[in-house]
Symmetry: C2
DNA sequence: ACCTGAACACCGTTCAAGT
DNA sequence: ACCTGAACACCGTTCAAGT
């Protein structure tokens, strides 16, 4: 009774049934690997193992690795924050919301962050993000041209800074620690005559990835948008 | 007379003399390759070929590839804009200057941009950049805590957005074109009832890497810094 | 002491061969 | 039609062997 059904194929073989492979099945396996091993673990070899299939059979369903990664990006996006992106009615709060959701999402999948930041996926989640940001800019009082530019500036800022923070997380442990420590060690020993400002402020210097920085930057950019918007609203 | 000196070692061998290899010689070769083939061409194999040496002999002078890349980053930085980083006396103009120099430099070496943005090199060029920015923030009228945060925000913004733009440049040609075209093709066909703002503005949408965006973002951030600085100066 | 050669453990990708 | 096996052209890196 104990090892009844799975007995024969116990440890070694149990081959996948024919036709059981598909894009969605492969993406599900990729998600699992990304969640478990991070992104550097996402190889065709690992996918094959996870799927109990030959690694090269994936090529029947995806043109190449780029094709697979783009599909994975959109799936993760929708799952990770698709449902949370609901307007609050306040443009500034809305921009804060989308920016923070993207930021958190990138930090959750740091190995994919740079690709998420740089690629255009042409898929529903992306359409929805753009629509959401454009609408907030309109409600902020920006005219059409300003809204388009502000949306891009705001989006590029959010994705770029988030990807930078995420990439700090993917550095080899030793490099990350050395880099972080530099701001509390090397920078405190610089000569005051050559680097007076560093010497004066050396106790206060923050590492590049300090968690408070994102919000500071976000609020500064929101201030700048608000001040441009105010100029318009003043005409009311 | 024609092929006199170089005759014997014409095509095939001409081995490097012993002890002629060093960190600086290797970095010079790496610069040459980076300039010529971009960064994806910078492999130990290519370095060996460029140096007329065995690829593995590089390991006598650099711990690993990361060690080599960090050294290369600082060398390129110093050479590319080290001499141009001179204060104008105007804090806002100074921040504009350093931001644009970094931006241009990243676009010149797009394959290294992400590493340049995320790593702390602990070397003179980096010290100098930090000192320069801190001094500008002080002259803008920010207090110590604000200056430290503003420097980080400003630096992270500059490096992150520049690295994002640079990484767009390193995409495979076909992916880059498809991604750019999406904003003038797919986005113009979205249904107006579901995406009213995209539909209304679809003629104006810019690709992610539009060259005007960096300056727009930069001026917005400078505005935000100026407005915080003004609050202080108002007390004068 | 310095450099080379051969090998290792990976990658993504191609393609002929099996079922 | 779908999947596998073997091979290819790369990576970075290690280490014993040559000079």
């Amino acid at each position: 009774m104990a090892a009844a059904g799975a007995d024969k194929s116990a440890a070694p073989k149990k081959r996948r049934p024919r036709d059981s492979l598909s894009r969605s099945v492969i993406i599900a396996a990729a998600e699992k690997i990304a969640e478990r091993d991070g992104l550097e673990g996402l190889t065709f070899g690992a996918l094959g193992k996870e799927l109990n299939a030959h690694s090269t059979s994936i090529y029947r369903h995806f043109r190449d690795k780029d094709d697979l990664v783009l599909e994975l990006i959109d799936t993760l996006r929708a799952k990770s924050y698709g449902a949370d992106l609901v307007s609050t009615g306040d443009w500034r709060e809305d921009l804060r919301l989308i920016s923070r959701l993207i930021h958190e999402h990138y930090l959750r999948y740091p190995g994919l962050a740079m690709q998420m930041a740089a690629r255009t996926t042409r898929r529903p989640t992306e359409f929805h993000n753009v629509e959401f940001a454009l609408d907030a800019m309109r409600r902020a009082g920006l005219d059409d041209d300003e809204a388009v530019v502000a949306t891009r500036v705001f989006g590029n800022f959010t994705r770029a800074v988030s990807a930078l923070e995420a990439s700090l997380q993917t550095l080899p442990e030793q490099a990350r620690l050395m880099d972080e420590m530099a701001w509390t060690v090397e920078y405190r020993q610089l000569p005051a005559d050559e680097y007076p400002n560093i010497a004066r402020l050396s106790e206060k210097l923050l590492p590049l990835g300090d968690p408070s920085l994102f919000n500071h930057a976000l609020e500064m950019l929101l201030d700048a948008i608000a001040s441009r918007a105010t100029n318009e609203v003043a005409a009311d």
